[in-house]
């Protein structure tokens, strides 16, 4: 059976659409919960009622974001069961435990501590309320852990064994899955990006109040908390990003090559800080010079990828066509092995059915030898193993460029807030307001790097996206694509409208 390309593409587009929309809501919740927890801690420590009102205002905006974003992720679970049923079945045993923990944790946290946080002012003790607020922050972030553990596993599958009788990956070691370096670095990088976004959100809205000469004290104090939080978490974002890129270099070298637009591998490889890629046909003629124009930081890529300034970093062509000198196997060779794995699985199934245990055992041995590259057996051409380089390259550079800008902005805003000059810096305030949407752009760009960069794999090296889809009608996927596009856009408009209304009302508005 061969699923038509359109079905795979529409299923991917639909998943991308729902994931990108879902991710508009999640990172703000992850970060804003901590910012309100910090503000409430200041209130409890100082007893200053003013901090209580400040906390309540930001908590109100958190509630809006939480309510609108709630359950948008459920859609992806629907899609797993309908559009990606092969994939859902194959990963079922691995994803079952983390997602069940996530579901239980989210349910208990949301029904208890969220309620105390919003309804418990003046009804429970200050300490109890503060504890609930911190537990909401920790709980929502831990909830993200389980999702990112699952995502990290797809990018670097560990702690499991494929059962050829049931066609499922069975968990062998829960701790290996949980502490998968790819999942851990992804979790830390993702949550810290949420903290940065929430900080941009708070300083952006505060800057708007200062430009309007409203709520001046409230805005200035909020800015100090958020800019401090944003500055510290930006530094952490930088460190976790470095760790994440290091893991990508070890486990997904093709993704790294795409991120850097590196076609021809080299030692002492530099990072392209800024560059414009040539069209693919021109690059194929001269892979050593894939850019019309670029600014490079010498040796930086070698250092980032292998923690050595001289290290060799393979390019797209080395990974596709192989490089004997550096011991890199070609995709064509992996495709041959992958086909052997697929054939061995077919034989195993046949011999088992016939009751020929001896031959089944031999087939199983062959399968186990090559199953780590089984996915390559489904590719048509070696170049199918290459993701869309321009999309990955530009998304990566937009994310890094914006992340650098955010760090600088936090430093400058914090400085002028500390010397009590911020309200006079109108240009800076305007830039701060305009940077808020850029925070969302950086968030989405990060996910595009992670997910487009790992194509064609649903599970790295084991299952290409074409094999992961269900054999369903393309039309039904197209219909639901547009249905979600409308539904999510309506939710986004609702969020922006309610949020703007609440911001207009200001810190005196209730929740």
């Amino acid at each position: 059976m061969e699923n038509e390309l359109a079905l795979v593409d529409w299923s991917r587009a639909q998943f991308a659409l729902t994931a990108l929309y879902h991710w508009l809501f999640v990172p703000l919740t992850l970060g804003l919960t901590f910012i309100v927890a910090i503000m409430e801690t200041i209130y409890v420590k100082t007893g200053d009622i003013w901090w209580k009102n400040t906390t309540k205002f930001w908590m109100g905006l958190l509630a809006i974001n939480f309510a609108i974003g709630l359950a948008t992720g459920i859609i992806m679970e629907f899609e797993f069961g309908t559009n990606w049923s092969n994939y859902a079945w194959i990963v079922g045993d691995i994803f079952g435990a983390p997602l069940a923990i996530e579901g239980l944790m989210a349910f208990f946290m949301e029904s208890t501590f969220f309620a105390v946080m919003f309804f418990g002012w003046d009804k429970v003790s200050k300490g109890m309320h503060l504890t609930s607020t911190w537990l909401v922050a920790l709980g929502s972030n831990l909830s993200a852990l389980w999702i990112l553990v699952a995502n990290g596993w797809m990018q670097h599958p560990v702690g499991m064994k494929f059962n050829p009788d049931t066609a499922r990956n069975e968990m062998q070691n829960f701790w290996e899955v949980l502490f998968n370096p790819n999942g851990v670095s992804k979790f830390l990088h993702t949550i810290s990006s949420g903290y940065v976004l929430a900080s941009l959100f708070v300083i952006g809205i505060s800057a708007w109040y200062l430009l309007k000469k409203r709520e001046v004290l409230f805005a200035k104090r909020s800015m100090i908390v958020a800019a401090s939080f944003g500055f510290l978490t930006s530094l952490f974002l930088l460190i976790s990003g470095d760790e994440s890129a290091y893991n990508v270099a070890q486990k997904q070298p093709m993704k790294l090559a795409a991120m850097e637009g590196l076609y021809h591998g080299e030692g002492k490889a530099g990072i392209v800080a800024l560059g414009i890629l040539k069209p693919e046909e021109e690059i194929l003629k001269d892979p050593k010079h894939p850019f019309y124009f670029d600014i490079e930081i010498p040796n930086a890529l070698s250092f980032l990828a292998h923690h050595s300034a001289d290290a060799y970093v393979p390019g797209v062509n080395d990974l596709v066509y192989g490089n004997e000198e550096h011991g890199i196997e070609s995709v064509a060779s992996k495709m041959q092995k992958g086909k052997l794995a697929v054939q061995a699985l077919t034989d195993y199934k046949k011999f088992k059915k016939e009751g020929n245990d001896k031959e089944a055992k031999i087939a199983l041995k062959t399968f186990e030898k090559y199953q780590h590259v089984m996915g390559y057996g489904y590719l048509k051409e070696p170049t199918d193993a290459v993701p869309n380089v321009p999309i990955v390259f530009y998304s990566f550079h937009i994310m890094v460029g914006l992340g650098t800008w955010f760090l600088l902005l936090f430093i400058v805003v914090l400085y002028f807030s500390m010397i009590n000059e911020i309200e006079n810096k109108r240009l800076l305030l305007m830039l701060t307001v305009l940077t808020l949407p850029m925070g969302y752009v950086a968030q989405e760009a990060g996910w595009i790097v992670a997910e487009v960069g790992r194509q064609p794999w649903a599970i790295q090296d084991m299952l290409p996206v074409g094999m992961a889809t269900s054999n369903i009608s393309t039309t039904s996927v197209q219909i639901t694509f547009w249905l979600f596009a409308v539904l999510f856009t309506a939710l986004l408009i609702a969020e922006i409208k309610i949020m703007f209304k609440q911001i207009q009302i200001g810190p005196e508005g209730g929740h």
Binding site: E2, I68, A71, K123, V124, L379, M467, A494, H511
Partner: protein
Amino acid sequence: MNIIKKIYFLYYDGFKNMKLGKSLWLIILIKLVVMFGIVKWMFFPNHLKTNFDTDLQRGNYVLEQLTQTKEN
């Protein structure tokens, strides 16, 4: 007042005194009805659960998909 009553009134008063929260709950309810009552029900049947009765059948079906020469 015992703990059960306290918890009951925490939720009761909380919901009763909500301002913006009432609109948010309405949005949540509409969304849940649309997602589970319409979208899930009409467009998202579980492909394997709908078409097969047992895990054995589901596993065999997926194995068939994996071993036929479907290419990416």
